[in-house]
């Protein structure tokens, strides 16, 4: 069952002349993890904003086509109606903190207060998601006193506490150090195991290969391909779109380690090992 449906989506920012999203059509199944890759200015973040309803409600401009999330046509509903269906976490953890709350616990409560939840339900959700994201121990700390990785996990907890059906992660680790990044990816792993629908925009292709069920390749706002990570990263023209495959795929190409009777190369170390041993 498709939880997101995008039909002929086109978008242009008010101050630009070119389309940033040009005729995108795809769907995302419930429980799927969709990776979005492409060079800078490919339209990845803009697509995330369009899925979350920020386009056309927050960012105006020329908008065409249709985005449906959980049956709601994004264009016809306010962002406040959409946030219970889709959550967005982006790269800078610092700017995702409201700045108005003095503790991590209150920070997570912010969205729930806006949704008008009763106090008992708020406490239940806050504790559940702070524990899930492993930041319960810092619940009484000021959010701005946390490390980048912890702050990003608080941002994810704040969004998850609103219990959306889809979580969009737009380069969630690009401003984090290796320790912070691995903390966030541990969370993504947990969420994919739990069957949460995730849209993941990431420049670290190893992580896309690890977690994505399918990968959407964008180039200059256009949809180049939507396929399995193996098919996307085995493309010979991948570099033309500013995307470098995972290191393991490059090694596999050099050593000619591929799936039997196909032109596809492994994208994870585990698959590489398996194919190498079976050779």
């Amino acid at each position: 069952m498709s939880i997101i449906e995008v039909e002929q989506l086109k978008y242009r920012y008010p101050d630009l002349t070119d389309l940033v999203l040009d005729d995108l059509s795809f769907s995302v199944e419930k429980g799927e993890c969709l990776g979005i890759v492409g060079e800078n200015t490919a339209g990845k973040s803009t697509l995330c904003y369009a899925l979350a309803g920020l386009i056309p409600h927050f960012y105006k401009g020329a908008y065409g086509g249709k985005v449906t999330v959980n049956g709601l046509v994004v264009r016809e509903h306010e962002i406040a109606d959409i946030v219970e269906n889709i959550g967005l976490v982006f790269e800078n953890p610092f700017s995702q903190m409201t700045g108005a709350k003095k503790t991590v616990y209150e920070e997570v409560a912010f969205g729930l207060e806006n949704l008008g939840l009763d106090r008992k339900e708020m406490h239940r959700r806050i504790e559940q998601y702070l524990k899930l994201l492993d930041v319960f121990a810092v619940k009484d700390k000021n959010p701005f006193d946390l490390s980048g990785g912890q702050m990003q996990r608080v941002a994810i907890a704040s969004v998850l506490a609103m219990e959306p059906d889809v979580l969009i992660l737009d380069e969630p680790t690009s401003q984090l150090d290796p320790q912070g990044s691995s903390e966030v990816f541990e969370v993504i792993e947990q969420l994919t195991e739990k069957g949460m629908t995730i849209i993941l925009v990431e420049h670290k292709m190893e992580q896309i290969a690890q977690y994505a069920d399918r990968v959407l390749l964008l180039h200059q706002g256009r949809q180049v391909a939507l396929d399995t990570p193996e098919k996307i990263f085995s493309r010979v023209d991948l570099k033309d779109f500013g995307v470098t495959p995972p290191v393991v795929t490059n090694i596999a190409k050099a050593l000619n380690v591929r799936y039997p009777d196909s032109e596809l190369y492994p994208v994870t170390i585990e698959e590489f090992k398996r194919l190498e041993e079976a050779k």
Partner: protein, 255 residues
């Protein structure tokens, strides 16, 4: 974590009062200095205000704020004493300048009024945490957007200051002179302000998006994580303050 607040966390009866009662006291105290513009009455209001600062254990914390107002007080005395239009009775003279009794009287009222204003605001600000104050006001119908602006400014300005300091260090490490003569400092100001302003604008946009995604624009009735605090003698104190103001007005009209 630095926040821009003068709140002093202490356990005192004044701290436990309803922020709205304290706000009402500020308004009433200032109003009384205009309703009854006699030095004795104003001194009475000032006495009560100072008493509240003492009971609230924040008298010492209010002294720097009062000290800051000394320049204003001094100016008031000089200007009124020497130049008030109603000046007739000479007190003393300094060369060609004559200091008058009438001017001193007007200055005394103004100085006491300033002290009441500063003192009563100190009672409110030093004994009330900003979030308690804002949450109370939102529950009374103030727009959550205004409340958010007040609270976020208190936390984000120190954060912006930290960012400015980081950018200053970055520019300095690339050889920019940021210290020295006034001209050097002015020259350094623009290369510093560019990144600071752009960074702030970018963060503001991102924070707006984050707030939208947390349902900030929702038209649903907002709920609160913290239970409504019970304040002792809330109605009684509010009633007494309003009664005193009404009595003051009656006194003024009758007199």
């Amino acid at each position: 974590m630095n926040t821009m607040t003068l709140y002093v966390e202490k356990d005192s009866p004044v701290h436990h009062l309803d922020p709205l009662v304290k706000l009402l006291y500020v308004v009433a105290a200032i109003a009384l200095t205009y309703i009854l513009p006699e030095p004795l009455f104003i001194a009475g209001v000032l006495f009560v205000t100072l008493l509240l600062l003492l009971v609230g254990k924040v008298f010492r914390n209010s002294l720097p704020i009062l000290t800051l107002s000394l320049f204003l007080i001094f100016s008031l005395v000089i200007v009124q004493g020497f130049f008030h239009p109603d000046n007739v009775t000479e007190l003393f003279s300094l060369g060609p300048l004559v200091f008058y009794e009438e001017g001193l009287y007007v200055a005394l009222i103004l100085v006491l009024r300033v002290l009441v204003m500063i003192g009563s605001f100190s009672v409110l600000i030093l004994t009330t945490s900003p979030d308690e104050m804002v949450e109370r006001l939102i529950k009374k119908g103030m727009s959550p957007r205004i409340g958010h602006v007040i609270l976020s400014v208190l936390q984000l300005i120190p954060q912006m200051r930290a960012t400015t300091s980081k950018i200053t260090d970055a520019q300095r490490s690339r050889g920019m002179e940021t210290e020295g003569s006034m001209l050097t400092r002015i020259k350094a100001f623009f290369p510093l302000m560019g990144p600071v302003v752009l960074n702030s604008l970018n963060e503001t946009k991102e924070r707006s998006i984050a707030l939208e995604m947390r349902g900030f624009g929702s038209s649903m009735k907002k709920t609160f994580l913290n239970e409504e605090k019970q304040y002792p003698y809330n109605k009684l104190l509010g009633g007494i303050i309003i009664a005193i103001v009404i009595l003051g007005i009656v006194w003024r009209v009758m007199a």
